[in-house]
């Protein structure tokens, strides 16, 4: 007699008539291949866990965003937000598409220069810019977005010393009706700080104010907030024109567009809740076009959106380590990836699919990572088929922030591969080794030996 395929016995209580908090059964359709490449083979070759990035998705997403804005506003320029994902291969895909670089630290600035981005196309943001970094940025003609008055005074000092006119913008924070209001960066619009900074720059006569910048929040679900932000920046730009007869070259609306991930506690899935590029583009473009600029004085619209550009292009492949029961009878599945490399699981309910075929039976489970740390929870509730040791899964929409905010805590960080537009796989980051960690350490002579 031919034996039947084995599947772990499962039994699940049926709850009728109440909302099912585990959601609909969209999550457990198996994903065995990513763009023609078998998950099993990718893991065999590059190890588990493994980050996979789809170049095709990046390019398609960029082009969609570009189309949304360019069909509504005549002068648009994207700048790739390095902090979202600064893998060199990823940055270069964006640069090939025409993105400038938007950096928030000296490290990121250096990376952009190494990638070959011209200095005047590197937007230098962030509250921490050292004197040496500012000198380099002034030398290269990079737009420097001033975050605080100390930075403004330092730039003024350097401009005199270097006999160069730094090109700057100020970062403006404002009330756009969004909670929490991000007021720790830049100068406030409502209380007059922004005007104070503008006056100081304009009256210095040694600094060129070329732009106005804002970044109103992150994972923004309300396009209308961008309309408010754009109107307030336009108001400042028109005021500068009136007071100093100076045209502002660009308005930088920052980033923060939501991706298709599902925020924890969200009633709707991310794909249903998050606005598309068209909605953000409509809100921003309409506000600027209605502000009253003369046609040939319309400012360039700069955008630094990161998350919405790359999140969907990233996958994390992983493997089941073990199954167990919690004291209350809930199923617990332990994966070989946790919050150390999937930092975004702190705020998203990431979609997770099995990478092999199963029957239609499922179980509600808690998904844990491998860390010896109680907070290492990947999903608090997830409905998945009966996974067993060595089964593989695919975590979706992980392209933003995970590969920059990951932690080297008790384990080594995994390899990363890029699938190109012809579905060919390229390794773009090696798996870490013990050597890659310890080579940065130094041992004082007297600690080199011991007896036990």
């Amino acid at each position: 007699m031919k034996k039947m395929q084995y599947e772990r016995p499962v039994i699940q209580r049926l709850n009728t008539g109440i909302m099912n908090k585990f959601g609909t059964r969209t999550e457990y359709a198996p994903v065995t291949h990513i763009e023609g490449n078998a998950v099993k083979e990718l893991i065999e070759k590059y190890g588990s866990p493994l980050f996979v990035i789809s170049e095709k998705t990046i390019r398609n997403t960029y082009r969609e965003a570009n189309r949304s804005f360019n069909t509504r506003y005549p002068k648009v320029q994207f700048a790739w937000s390095y902090k979202t994902n600064y893998l060199s291969a990823v940055c270069n895909v964006f640069h090939q598409e025409g993105s400038w670089a938007e950096v928030v630290s000296g490290f990121e600035y250096e990376k952009a220069i190494r990638h070959g981005v011209p200095g005047n196309k590197i937007i230098f943001n962030g509250p921490d810019k050292t004197e040496a970094e500012l000198r380099t940025a002034i030398e290269n003609g990079s737009p420097i977005h001033i975050d605080h008055l100390d930075e403004l005074y330092l730039i003024k000092e350097l401009s005199g010393e270097m006999k160069k006119r730094p090109k700057v913008a100020i970062r403006v924070n404002m009330d756009t009706g969004i909670y929490p209001m991000w007021d720790r960066f830049g100068f406030n619009y409502e209380n007059g700080q922004a005007w104070d900074a503008i006056n100081k720059i304009m009256l210095s006569n040694t600094i060129d104010l070329i732009g106005l910048h804002c970044h109103i929040g992150t994972f923004m679900l309300a396009p209308s907030a961008y309309a408010v932000a754009a109107s307030k920046l336009c108001d400042l730009a028109m005021g500068i024109k009136k007071k100093f007869n100076k045209n502002i070259h660009y308005l930088d609306l920052g980033g923060g567009f939501a991706s298709k991930n599902t925020l924890k506690g969200s009633y709707l899935q991310g794909v249903d809740a998050s606005p598309g590029f068209d909605q953000f583009a409509e809100a921003i473009s309409t506000a600027i076009l209605n502000a009253g600029f003369v046609e040939d004085e319309l400012p360039l619209l700069l955008l630094e959106t990161g998350r919405a550009m790359i999140d969907e292009a990233g996958y994390l492949l992983g493997t089941v380590i073990s199954n167990k029961r919690l004291s209350d009878g809930r199923r617990a599945t332990i994966m070989d990836f946790g919050v150390n490399i999937l930092f975004t699981s702190f705020w998203y309910d990431h979609k997770i699919s099995p990478a092999q075929e199963f029957s239609q039976y499922t179980e509600d489970a808690v998904l844990y990572g491998p860390l010896c740390m109680n907070i290492d929870v990947v999903r608090e509730h997830v409905t998945l088929p009966p996974l067993k040791r060595d089964d593989q899964v695919v975590v979706h929409t992980v392209g933003a922030y995970n590969m920059t905010q990951w932690m080297q805590f008790i384990a080594l960080r995994p390899a990363i591969v890029l699938i190109d537009c012809d579905d060919k796989v390229h390794q773009i980051r090696k798996r870490e080794t013990v050597e890659s960690i310890v080579k940065e350490e130094m041992m004082p002579d007297y600690l080199k030996s011991f007896k036990l």
Partner: protein, 89 residues
């Protein structure tokens, strides 16, 4: 361990406990285990039958079988062996 006498089980895996009004869903191998236990088969007989019918090994089956019967107990679909319970007391 015995399945409670009044537990109803359909061929499609619908399990109903008329005492509590709770209903459950189980997969084909779960149906088979519940049926065998209802027929009065003991643990060894059930496991032997499953090893013969399914592509699995003893360790995996052992682990999954205990997990499943513990769930049956927890969900009040089964009750412990009286002999064993008495031995415990």
């Amino acid at each position: 361990m015995k399945i409670k006498r009044n537990i109803a089980l359909s061929d499609s895996g619908f399990v109903f406990n008329p005492t509590t009004g709770d209903s459950f869903s189980t997969n084909p191998i779960g149906i088979e285990i519940i049926k065998l236990l209802k027929e009065g088969k003991n643990e060894d007989e059930v496991k032997k039958h499953l090893i013969k019918s399914y592509m699995t090994d003893e360790v995996t089956l052992e682990k999954d079988y205990y997990d499943f019967v513990n769930m049956l107990l927890k969900l009040q679909l089964a009750e412990g062996d009286e002999d064993k319970d008495e031995a415990k007391n």
